[in-house]
Amino acid sequence: MLRIKRDHKVRRFHQAKWDEPVIFELHNSGERGVQVPLTEAGIVASVGDGLSTIPASMRRKAELRLPEVAQARVLRHYLRLSQETLGADLNIEIGQGTCTMKYSPKINEALARSPQMTELHPAQDPDTVQGILEVMYKMDLFLREISGMDRFSLQSGSGSQAAMAMAAIVRAYHQSKGEDLTRDEIITTIYSHPSDAAAAIVKGYKIITIYPDAEGYPDLQALKQAISSRTAGLIVANPEDTGVFNKRIAEFTRLVHEAGGLCCYDQANANALLGITRAKEAGFDMCFFNLHKTFSTPHGCGGPGGGAVGVLEELAGFLPVPLVEFVGGRYILNYDLPDSIGKVRMYYGVPPVMLKAYSWIMSLGAEGLYEAAKVSVLNNNYLYSKIMQIKGADAPYVRDKQPIEQIRYSFEALKQETGVEVEDIQNRMPDFGLHMWTSHHPYLVPSPVTLEPTESYSKTELEEYCATLGHVVQEARENPDIVKTAPHNSVCHKIDYSVLDRPEDWCITWRSYLKKTKPE
């Protein structure tokens, strides 16, 4: 036979398309997915049907209209839906900037799914959970080393919840000084995560937003003007979501401190900084890490994740309760924090996520973290050099800088030239088995594309991503219709999103869909 020729430039992909019905459409009266462990006869003989003790008014009256589906049919349905999802394990997930979509090692997942993790009740006597408490305690110690902070709470279930916890600590701190009513402003930068502002607003703060200066760095003059006796604190990411590192961050924190404010560091973009630079030296009073970003735990379609909030010693008393302590050779839960903000999440956070992050750090050590940081920046610079070879691509904020770990590009020139929108490109990339994200708020960079390659992808994978993006850009010039009508090889075709913004048309559940739509 002739050797099979494999010289195509882009992947000839087609996503699994099962044309799967909604689960309710699988209903077949009488089918069962699983048997419930029923009550033994001896108990029934003693208490009867169990229902008669419930007042009639409290017994369910309406029929429960859940679908009835046999087990293997349920399994097939959800396996098909999983195949219709492009997880980070399958694709070169560098198109989801700001989210650090690195490889989540399978061994860590396997360890976190052992009964020694899953079958623990949070109210168990600490003596019976010394293993997981040790993991939580060690994570605190590790993160202290990584950040320079003195104490961590791993209770937050996400970065946004950690941002809220930081804002709550800022408020509690000023309250302890009797200044919470006068200090009512939080300063942030426009290219910090939206939750840094939004979560501070939840905690009752007014937001002052700093924009970039002419060079693309957070504007120092604007900061000086923003700072006043009303300043409660600063909450910023660094590098920002554009990939720009604020070189004057130590001056920012100094100025805020001089005005009596606290400085809080959103370390969602910390992946490039492990072992390179730390929160403490930049003058921060507290910071948080996302365990599901920097520390490799899987993102789970949007959680559960983990947010680890670290503070300097003088703020440790404000952390949420409890903290894990090591006293007299055993690990205990310390609820005795009189200044504590209380709780941000039930119990202690998401321990299996902590275990996975712990396992990741144990697989890398200090030099491995440094390697991850260096390679994430190497990969990003390499990606940058390739993307900038695509005509129509620009990187407005990093043009004259060496980028850190991600970049918000602009494809505005391509749009002006071809009329192809960045959303069209976004819709076309799945045709090649790839994801590409634009941006969340703010929508200041025109036609934005935010890419973050992390350390997890090989040189050839970076090249495949760039080649595919380059191919789509070429299509935009030569055959724009194929881009504008994309996707073509995906599970579904172009969606009419307009119905989702109209109250009379939106259907957020199947029952609502049945009520609000008429058959043709």
Partner: protein
């Protein structure tokens, strides 16, 4: 000084020195040290991170972690009678099979075109919970049930423009701390009394507390002490008459047998999803839901993602996407509702799988079994001298209070003794509910066999000296 870093690491393909050299050459750089050029010298970390030496192989990591986690004593080899916000339930194998699928496990923020299955499964999750609570709108899950309650209360605050929350006095102390932190400083929490005889909401206390400042009245069914609140409709009517929103927290595992709160006047229903096919995970298996009617004034106050169904250009094809995305902080950080971000989506998908497996009959049987087994346990335990079973004159679901005041022992002592016999006794209420003295909150679910319960009764009788 040797070369820094960790070359040939299996998780880092480009840790190969020759690949790095090639990439650096293309970039016109000499070494990895030339990267991070934007970090000012004075901020470069000059110390070393004092972290353990890395475990060199996956096998060594496994041995290390298994040894560490082997120190835990689990609810598998012990009998667990603890609930109170996280409950031991059976987890169908298919729930784990689906939530460890690589695609669901590692997806995140993809668009509907590459993550159609993620959108559909979360839409289905919303739809399945909607049937359970008999309401038309359910969100993509929140972090946990406490967060769901806190957000539901903030929604009520925005809808009414008022600042006071009235909370049933039996609320879990943990949940109250979450709500207080999340709702402050805009909203203040005021705990209502509970009726000392029934354990339900004290109606005179509610009537006195309601005012033109009341944003919401919040109660639970069953409440933290396991008690079924029978006055739901009266509470809702009073709340509505005062112009307040009625928010009800509910245990979804009860809804095969108990009336959903929408049937007695709830405007917003919220709760914890963990009972629906999710392992306890030392409290890490929590996820929350919020449900409302399909009215714009409610829908537009959700901070969460809401996935909706939509047509595509191909006839007969389903599409999915975000409903009213402009509400969210992703769209507008200043004017968005609260904030949105990573929550607990994987547990939402899992809860959907669970409900699809259970169907109406499964949920009914689950509820009935829990009722029977918990009633049996309460009855048998009450027979022990020194134990007063259920000191409240109300029916209960899944959990009940045991009164040990006449035993002469503290709950802490009793639980220590039980633990030595392989039993995790009920949650000690003496700190959170000092007025009850030495009482414990026992949880009995479908996983407990008659033998488990009888063992508890025997051991407890022995510990108490009878």
């Amino acid at each position: 000084m040797g070369e820094r870093g960790f070359k040939h690491h299996p998780y880092i393909p480009n840790s190969l020195p020759e690949v790095q050299a090639e990439m650096l050459r293309e970039l016109g750089l000499n070494s990895l040290e030339d990267l991070h050029a934007e970090i000012p010298k004075e901020l470069v970390f000059k110390g070393t991170m004092n972290l353990p030496e890395p475990l060199k192989s996956e096998y060594e990591l496994r041995r290390h972690v298994e040894r560490l986690m082997g120190k835990n004593k689990t609810c598998k080899e012990n009998i667990c009678f603890m609930g109170g916000g996280c409950w031991p339930h059976f987890v169908p194998a298919i729930c784990d099979e689906i939530n460890q699928r690589a695609e669901f496990l590692t997806a995140y923020a993809g668009e509907p075109y590459e993550d159609h299955g993620r959108f559909q499964s979360l839409f289905e999750y919303q739809s399945l919970v909607a049937e359970l609570v008999d309401m038309d709108v359910v969100n993509v899950p929140t972090i946990d049930g406490a967060q769901a309650a806190a957000t539901a209360l903030r929604m009520a605050g925005r809808i009414t423009g008022r600042g006071e929350l009235l909370l049933a006095g039996t609320i879990s102390p943990e949940k109250l701390l979450v709500i207080k932190n999340y709702c402050g400083p805009d909203l203040t929490c005021r705990k209502l009394d509970y009726d000392k005889r029934t354990g339900q909401v004290d109606m005179p206390s509610l009537q006195t507390a309601l005012s033109g400042e009341t944003a919401a009245v919040y109660f639970e069914n069953p409440n933290y002490l396991g008690i079924i609140e029978e006055q739901g409709q009266q509470i809702a009517d009073l709340a509505h008459a005062a112009g307040a929103v009625c928010v009800v927290g509910v245990d979804p595992s009860s809804l095969g047998v108990l009336e959903p709160p929408s049937g007695y006047g709830a405007d917003i229903v919220c709760g914890e999803l963990q009972p629906l096919g999710i392992h306890m995970n030392y409290g890490g298996g929590l996820a929350g839901f919020i449900a409302t009617r399909d009215e714009e004034r409610f829908v537009m106050e959700y901070p969460s993602r809401l996935f909706g169904i939509a047509p595509t250009i191909v006839p007969g094809e389903y599409g999915f996407g975000d409903v009213a995305y402009e509400r969210t902080s992703f769209h507008d950080r200043i004017h968005g509702k609260e904030y949105v971000g990573t929550q607990s989506a994987l547990w939402g998908i899992t809860a959907g799988v669970y409900l699809a497996l259970m169907g109406p009959r499964g949920m009914f049987e689950l509820g009935q079994t829990i009722l029977q087994k918990s009633q049996y346990a309460a009855r048998q335990l009450s027979k022990i001298k020194g134990v007063k079973g259920v000191p409240f004159d109300s029916s209960f679901f899944k959990e009940f209070v045991l009164d040990f005041n006449s035993s002469g022992l503290t709950v802490a002592d009793i639980n220590k003794a039980l633990q030595a016999r392989g039993i995790f006794g009920g949650i000690d209420l003496s700190a959170a509910f000092p007025e009850l003295g030495q009482c414990a909150l026992y949880c009995v679910t479908e996983i407990h066999t008659k033998e488990d319960i009888d063992t508890l009764v025997e051991e407890l009788a022995d510990i108490l000296g009878y």
